[in-house]
């Protein structure tokens, strides 16, 4: 046996050798030339650039494989990527320049089939997939812990007002440069107002400030401004820039997000309340996990929802779109909060910073199940709970009074009434029967109320079928009626459950199964319906569609929402049912997605032409009366039924009942509002999405390619910002039992704010630098969203670390930071420059002068509104696209496809990606706007009227008043002269007009708006 084995091995081996020679010849003559001609330019050791980490110039090369792993499985062309890519049917198509000739493909396929024989001996050096050395990477300044620094000692500290100045002056001394003196007070008050509030001071505020000669006049002014609610509107806009905030989805249809403004309001409120910055961040990442009952914390999660979202997603694109959406979130969290360009690691490890693609996907996985949702928030304050408790107690008392009366009087009164001949017995065109069951096919929860009403709650599937079974005693039936009833809990009051309150009932079918005398069912039979009458038909969607043959044609009621609707179906042949019957009614909703009825009732009529909208009475009440009249004894339950009806005739009961009703009408209502939030386990905003809302788990993708899933990404944080590679365990919290959310975002938020072991120190550095950037026009790090290797180096690292430490130490309070910065000599100094100093430090790295700069779009407009006296200071609430509105510009509705032209002209962001540095451009269309826009002219007209009213007839007084309002100062004599001359000339030009004088004054006011001084922060 053993021998044979050896022999056979030998035989096969010799065969193999013989075959090998052939195969090698095949390789040399056929295969190698193709590889040389078509592959080596990218896949050989001496290629200019080796692509895909793959070498095909040696056997070792293809055996090692490339970026996509093993490419040749010898003997198995079907499974070899190398062969698949040649067919041009794979996502990777090789060679990229064009498909190979069929015969060449056949040769290469044959080669793989033969086992890929390859005589080439060359070696394939490892193509260095660079490994990140985290330990040395951590030495980079930005990933270092904050340095404990003390303000340096100076030769001359006379200029300094705060430690900030010590840090700056120290470097200036080293460079031999002297800073500017403090600016004059008129400049300071204007600067502070524009910077903190975004509108200039009033002439009265200027006057008060100038008169105040106390040492702390300036500091108290800053305090006052920090308490002004316009502060949140000014600085909130800065945050919205980096939060890429907008109120529409973008892409195809750019649908509105009508509830997104709550996030904008959250930002404004948080700033005005001086919410600690770490909490500000925590809430934006996971407010729903930190404080689910705090509406402000919930609204904060709008941050995650603010990015664009494709509105028309085909099934084959859905997963890719979802990865893009996660990318938007990861990217924005990275740059906005940490100045970290994490998104650069989506396709490969970050080219410059120590962030791996694994870091990227692990961070993305934090958000894998997070979706945007229009969510009901309860805005009721603490008083509500108390008011509600008081109300409940009051209501209970009144209800008890009514119940007591019923207990004590009802049966006696009823008895007396019967004895007196039972006059005015109840009647109605419609009776309702007992509902035995109500079942929905596709998951809606149907509930049955005592008055025969059926309610639909819970899941609202795209299409639905309700089956309702009724037991009726009515023994002559001519018609059925379906009521679709309004309800406050439905959108717009219903009666439908569609997103607009509509429904689309496509079919209404009836089967009857008469009872015999023993109350046994006999035979079910379909009931033919003859005609329909309805309260209202939506155009093209009549009630008759519910009994036609078309399964999709439907009855709907848009725009008559919030009303009760009825449709009466007359039977083709009236039915006589001496012992009653079981009725099975089916309602089909096939017409439109989620257009199911939210509240309904089916009733019966014995009349020939029953009215449409009448209140039905219960069958059982009538039955009890019949028995009573026939002298039969009533059961206790029947007496109760009858009593329930009878009491409504009694004036005493009516009074008691009215007291209950009146009281209920005053019930304190919780203040509910819909807000766009981000959370988990909540219904996602879907639009026209054919795929899933999210894909869990998130995978690590090779080259960002969905077809190359490497492995499942578990939650984690960038390694360079953790003490050790598996340190994430320190922050990862398990979700509590029964939690709808995964607590992954909370874990991220804990890490990001952890100043000891997590990213908290970087978080502080980045925000401190942003605040500095907005105050000075240039950050200590000039690239506020990129603290990485590619970003600018800090111009004063000690100062940055000192500010960040102070900030953390003082409880992450932004208002304190503003105060600290604004009371420094660096901030208060004048803006003047001269050539010698410019030559030493042109970029003002040393902050030896205040950097004058053009104001932002919003501030230019808001200032025109403010000085013309037309600003409407109403805060919060939905925004508008109306360019003529008078509120602050932060209340423009940000629709991505309809950005406000005036804002865009002055470089407002397009809200597609986070924007840390707004460009400042100077272009002719801006001037055209100031010259020719009717809106700007409107502001000028209003200002002119205000000036004329304040200053009277004197041209000089008018010019002075205009200067005070617009530029916060008096006109100089030359300016006065120019102004007076102009007003006279212009008035002369307009002689023929009705009001030459006011036209001329408005022309002057408009000219002031066009001045550099008006639009520059100085």
């Amino acid at each position: 046996m053993k021998k044979i084995t050896t022999l056979s091995v030998f035989l096969f081996a010799s065969f193999a050798i013989a075959g090998e020679a052939d195969d090698f010849a095949f390789f040399e003559s056929k295969v190698r030339p193709i590889l040389i001609d078509h592959c080596y330019s990218c896949h050989a050791k001496d290629a200019k650039k080796i692509r895909g980490e793959l070498l095909l110039d040696s056997k070792e090369g293809w055996m090692k494989g490339g970026e996509s792993g093993q490419i040749i499985i010898p003997g198995n062309p079907e499974k070899s990527l190398f062969v698949k890519v040649l067919s041009y049917n794979d996502t990777i198509q090789m060679p990229p320049k064009g498909k190979l000739a069929d015969k060449d493909i056949a040769i290469l396929t044959e080669w793989v089939k033969r086992g890929a024989p390859d005589p080439r001996k060359g070696s394939a050096p490892a193509i260095a997939a660079k490994k990140i050395d985290y330990e040395s990477a951590k030495k980079y300044w930005a990933w270092q812990p904050l340095k404990k620094v003390a303000p340096p000692k100076l030769k001359d500290q006379s200029w300094c007002k705060t430690p900030i100045d010590h840090f700056l002056k120290f470097n200036m001394e080293a460079k031999g440069i002297t800073p500017n003196p403090i600016a004059d007070k008129t400049k300071l008050i204007r600067r502070a107002h524009l910077d903190l509030l975004g509108i200039p001071p009033t002439p009265e505020e200027v006057e008060t400030f100038l008169k105040d000669k106390s040492d702390d006049a300036y500091s108290r002014m800053v305090d006052r401004l920090l308490q002004n609610p316009h502060y949140g509107e000014r600085w909130g806009r800065h945050w919205l820039d980096v939060a890429r905030f907008a109120e529409s989805h973008g892409y195809e249809q750019d649908y509105d997000r009508p509830n997104a403004y709550h996030y904008r309001d959250f930002v404004i409120k948080a700033l005005n309340q001086d919410l600690p910055y770490d909490t500000f961040i925590k809430w934006q990442l996971a407010g729903d996990e930190y404080e689910p009952s705090n509406p402000l914390a919930m609204m904060a999660t709008g941050f995650l929802a603010a990015g664009t979202h494709a509105t028309q997603i085909t099934a084959s694109q859905a997963e890719k779109e979802r990865y893009d959406e996660l990318d938007d979130i990861v990217r924005t969290v990275g740059t906005t909060m940490l100045g970290l360009t994490i998104a650069c690691a989506r396709c490969h490890d970050h080219k410059f910073d120590p962030i791996s693609a694994t870091d990227y996907y692990r961070m993305a996985s934090t958000f894998s199940t997070t979706v945007r949702s229009d969510y009901d928030l309860n805005l009721s304050t603490g008083n509500y709970a108390q008011e509600k408790a008081e109300f409940d107690a009051g209501k209970k008392k009144l209800e008890e009074a009514r119940a007591n009366w019923e207990r004590d009087n009802l049966s006696a009164k009823l008895e007396a009434w019967v004895k007196a001949g039972a006059k005015d017995a109840p009647q109605s065109d419609f009776l309702f029967a007992e509902v035995k069951s109500a079942v929905a096919k596709n998951g809606t929860s149907l509930g049955i109320l005592s008055n025969g009403i059926i309610t639909a709650t819970g899941k609202n599937p795209d299409f639905e079928n309700y089956t309702i079974t009724l037991h009726s005693n009515t023994n002559h039936v001519t018609a059925l009626r379906l009521e679709a009833l309004r309800d406050a809990s439905l959108v717009k009051g219903g009666p439908g459950r569609a997103p607009n309150g509509n429904f689309a009932l496509s079919d209404f079918k009836v089967t009857v199964n008469p009872f015999d005398s023993k109350k046994n069912l006999t035979t079910p039979q379909p009931v033919k319906l003859k005609s329909v009458r309805s309260s209202f038909d939506q155009k093209g969607l009549p009630a008759s569609a519910t009994i036609d043959k078309d399964k999709k044609s439907s009855w709907a009621i848009d725009p008559q929402f919030g009303k009760d609707h009825q449709v009466v179906y007359e039977l083709e042949k009236a039915l006589d049912l001496p012992h009653g019957a079981e009725w099975v009614i089916t309602l089909d909703f096939n017409g439109n997605n989620q257009h199911n009825i939210g509240k309904l009732r089916v009733t019966f009529s014995s009349m020939d032409k029953p009215a449409l909208a009448v209140t039905p009475v219960p069958e059982k009440t009538l039955a009890a009366l019949e028995k009573l009249k026939a002298g039969q004894k009533l059961a206790a339950s029947e007496i109760t039924d009858l009593g329930m009806w009878y009491r409504t005739k009694d004036t005493d009961w009516q009074k008691l009942n009215k007291a209950v009703d009146d009281f209920i009408a005053k019930e304190p209502k919780p203040k509910m509002v819909k807000a766009l939030i981000s959370s988990e386990g909540v219904p996602a905003v879907r639009l026209h999405t054919q795929g899933a809302d999210f894909y869990d788990p998130v995978h690590i993708l090779k080259r960002g390619d969905l077809n190359q899933k490497v492995s499942v990404a578990s939650i984690g944080f960038p390694q360079v910002l953790m003490k050790s590679s598996d340190a994430e365990k320190h922050w990862i919290t398990k979700a509590p039992e029964g939690s709808k959310t995964s607590y992954r975002r909370k874990s991220l938020a804990e890490w990001i704010t952890d100043t000891e072991q997590g990213a908290g120190m970087l978080l502080a550095r980045v925000i401190v630098n942003r605040v500095w950037h907005y105050h000075f026009g240039r950050g200590i790090v000039a690239t506020p969203s990129d603290f990485g290797v590619q970003g600018e180096k800090p111009s004063n690292p000690e100062l940055l670390d000192w500010l960040a430490s102070e900030f953390i130490h003082k409880g992450w309070k932004l208002k304190e930071l503003h105060k600290l910065i604004m009371t420094s000599a660096a901030y208060m100094q004048s803006s003047s420059v001269d050539e010698p100093r410019l030559l030493k430090d042109r970029e003002n790295n040393l902050v030896w002068h205040f950097q004058s700069r053009r104001l932002e779009a919003e501030i230019i407009r808001d200032s025109m509104l403010a000085v013309s006296g037309t600003l409407d200071a109403t805060p919060f609430g939905p925004g508008t696209l109306d360019p003529n509105h008078k509120r602050r510009s932060i209340y423009f509705f940000v629709k991505r496809s309809k950005l406000i032209p005036m804002m865009m002209l002055f470089d407002a962001p397009d809200s597609l990606q986070d924007l840390a540095l707004r460009p400042t451009t100077t272009i002719a269309p801006q001037a055209l706007l100031m010259m020719n826009s009717s809106i700007v002219r409107g502001y000028a007209d209003a200002l002119a009227a205000r000036v004329a009213k304040d200053a009277g007839e004197s041209l000089e007084a008018r010019i002075q008043r205009a200067y005070q309002l617009v530029l916060s100062r008096n006109a100089k004599s030359l300016e006065l002269k120019e102004g007076i001359e102009f007003l006279k000339e212009q008035e002369g030009f307009y002689k023929a007009d009705k009001k030459p004088e006011s036209l001329a004054l408005a022309d002057f006011c408009q000219a002031l708006f066009s001045l550099n001084e008006f639009v520059f922060l100085d």
Partner: protein, 491 residues
């Protein structure tokens, strides 16, 4: 000509280095890359980018093309019914397309067999180009056109595909080709918008994704396309306020200048202040010259007729084509015109009836495009104007099958479409690349969107690997990390 319009501040030694100035004024650190690019090429005019970001400048190497007119066949023109004639489709008409992935198009449930083109084709021109009967005017220009038959894109849905062909990314938020080009080259005219977009004026809507198709993304906003208002004044704020005449406005502007100069004396080193003063003078001139550029009534009757302004079927597109010529003639850098509005029957998106749809839209565009090429050529402008024509994707060679047998449409096809270019240094009469036998997928010499963009930039004298903008830590390019110039279509 336009150089007189550019403010010069070279005399001031403080701003001798543009690079410093860009930093100092917060003009955008991103633009530093451009400053580098320019220094590298020693541009003689040395325009000061910070003061006038639209100042004209040279690319990396000399080029014929100075401006671009992009005719965008919105909704997706069917290649097999227009410029990619496939005789094999006639042979296989009615047969199943084997191995077809039903998710290729938009409607996975409406997959029918191969369908031949309803149009007759003839070979025309010296180059023997196959032309469908629906292009009776363009047929005269086939020897000036270079065709790339092997274009492909990556998504099967209008707006991502529109974003991709316009910006190189299927996601929203990146600068479009027109923005990159004006960023790279500025604009010859300072009195007209550098980058103009015209979309449907018949109320059929904007292309899907709206203004993001001509947005500047992270580039400064001045580089975004100016979309002309479809009705009324083409550009906002171009006309003087109703109560003013020229003299009164001039006087007001003079006051602004005088008061600004008084203020400027306090800060003589702030060049930004001077630039802003100058911008008012520019605006004043623009107010005069821009309306003239849009006024096609100033053209002779002969020209108006040639474009088809008297032809009801195509007068809307004819007007836009003529405005495009007037704009490039006057120094605008980049003009894009969209044929058709939103999707379906309002654009080239012939899902239901490819014959009726394409006949209609060919009828709307053929005469104006033919006239535009004739007109540019006779004025000697064709050499310096690159004309591009394509849609966001192609259409499937199979029929989109629905219950209604009268509907013979074609669904979206990302795998193949044809782009043609003319003028601007393009080698006329060239046919580059091929699709497979039935025109389903680009097969030979495939050209992706990045390649297309690289080629367009190349024709304008720009090396696509060098035109970069620093944003949030990365040097972005129009062509991202890819792009090969299709040298074969360049003369």
């Amino acid at each position: 000509m336009a150089f007189n319009d550019i403010p010069h501040f070279n005399a001031n030694p403080c701003f001798a280095r543009r690079r410093d100035f860009l930093r100092r004024t917060g003009q955008g650190i991103g633009m530093l890359a451009l400053a580098n690019l320019l220094q590298e090429n020693e541009v003689k005019a040395a325009p000061d980018l910070a003061l006038n970001p639209l100042a004209p400048r040279q690319g990396n190497f000399p080029s014929k093309a100075k401006s671009v007119i992009w005719l965008f066949m919105n909704g997706g023109q069917s290649q097999v019914d227009t410029w990619d004639y496939k005789p094999a489709l006639e042979k296989h008409d009615g047969q199943e397309l084997k191995g077809f992935d039903k998710f290729t198009g938009f409607f996975s449930g409406e997959v029918g067999p191969l369908m031949k083109s309803p149009f007759k084709f003839e070979q025309k021109g010296k180059s023997g180009c196959w032309v469908p009967e629906i292009f009776p005017n363009m047929v005269d220009h086939v020897d000036d056109m270079a065709f790339i038959h092997s274009c492909f894109t990556e998504t099967n849905n209008h707006s991502p595909a529109l974003f991709q062909i316009n910006t190189g990314f299927s996601r929203m938020g990146f600068p479009c080709v027109g923005s990159w080009v004006t960023y790279g080259l500025g604009s010859v005219s300072q009195n007209l918008p550098a980058f103009v977009v015209m979309y449907d004026t018949l109320g059929r809507g904007l292309p899907k994704g709206h203004a993001s198709n001509w947005g500047a993304g992270f580039l400064p906003g001045i580089f975004q396309g100016t979309a002309l208002n479809p009705q009324g004044q083409p550009i906002d704020n171009l006309s003087r306020l109703p109560h003013m005449n020229e003299k009164e406005q001039r006087n007001q502007l003079d006051l602004v200048t005088r008061l600004n100069r008084i203020h400027q004396e306090e800060a003589p080193h702030e060049a930004a202040l001077a630039a802003r003063i100058e911008s008012f003078e520019l605006a004043y001139r623009m107010q005069m010259s821009a309306p003239e550029a849009f006024d096609v009534d100033m053209e002779p009757e002969r020209i108006r007729r040639m474009y088809g302004l008297d032809n009801k079927k195509c007068s809307h597109f004819a007007r836009q084509a003529l405005v495009a010529r007037r704009l490039v003639e006057r120094g605008s850098r980049f003009v894009q015109i969209y044929s058709g509005g939103m999707e379906n029957e309002r654009s080239w998106d012939g899902h239901r009836d490819i014959q009726g749809n394409h006949r209609q839209f060919a009828g709307e565009t053929d005469q104006p495009i033919g006239a535009l090429l004739t007109d540019l050529k006779q004025r000697g402008l064709l050499d310096s104007t690159l004309v591009i024509c394509c849609g966001e994707f192609g259409r499937l060679p199979i029929v989109q099958k629905t219950k209604d047998k009268n509907f013979l449409g074609r669904d979206h096809n990302p795998h193949a479409f044809t782009t043609w270019m003319a003028g601007g240094g393009v080698k006329g009469g060239t046919h580059y690349g091929e699709t497979d036998e039935v025109g389903f997928k680009a097969a030979v010499n495939r050209v992706g969107v990045n390649d297309l963009h690289a080629t367009i930039l190349h024709l304008l004298g720009i090396d696509h690997t060098k035109l970069t903008y620093r944003f949030n830590g990365r040097d972005f390019r129009l062509t991202d990390v890819a792009g090969n110039v299709v040298k074969e279509i360049i003369a």
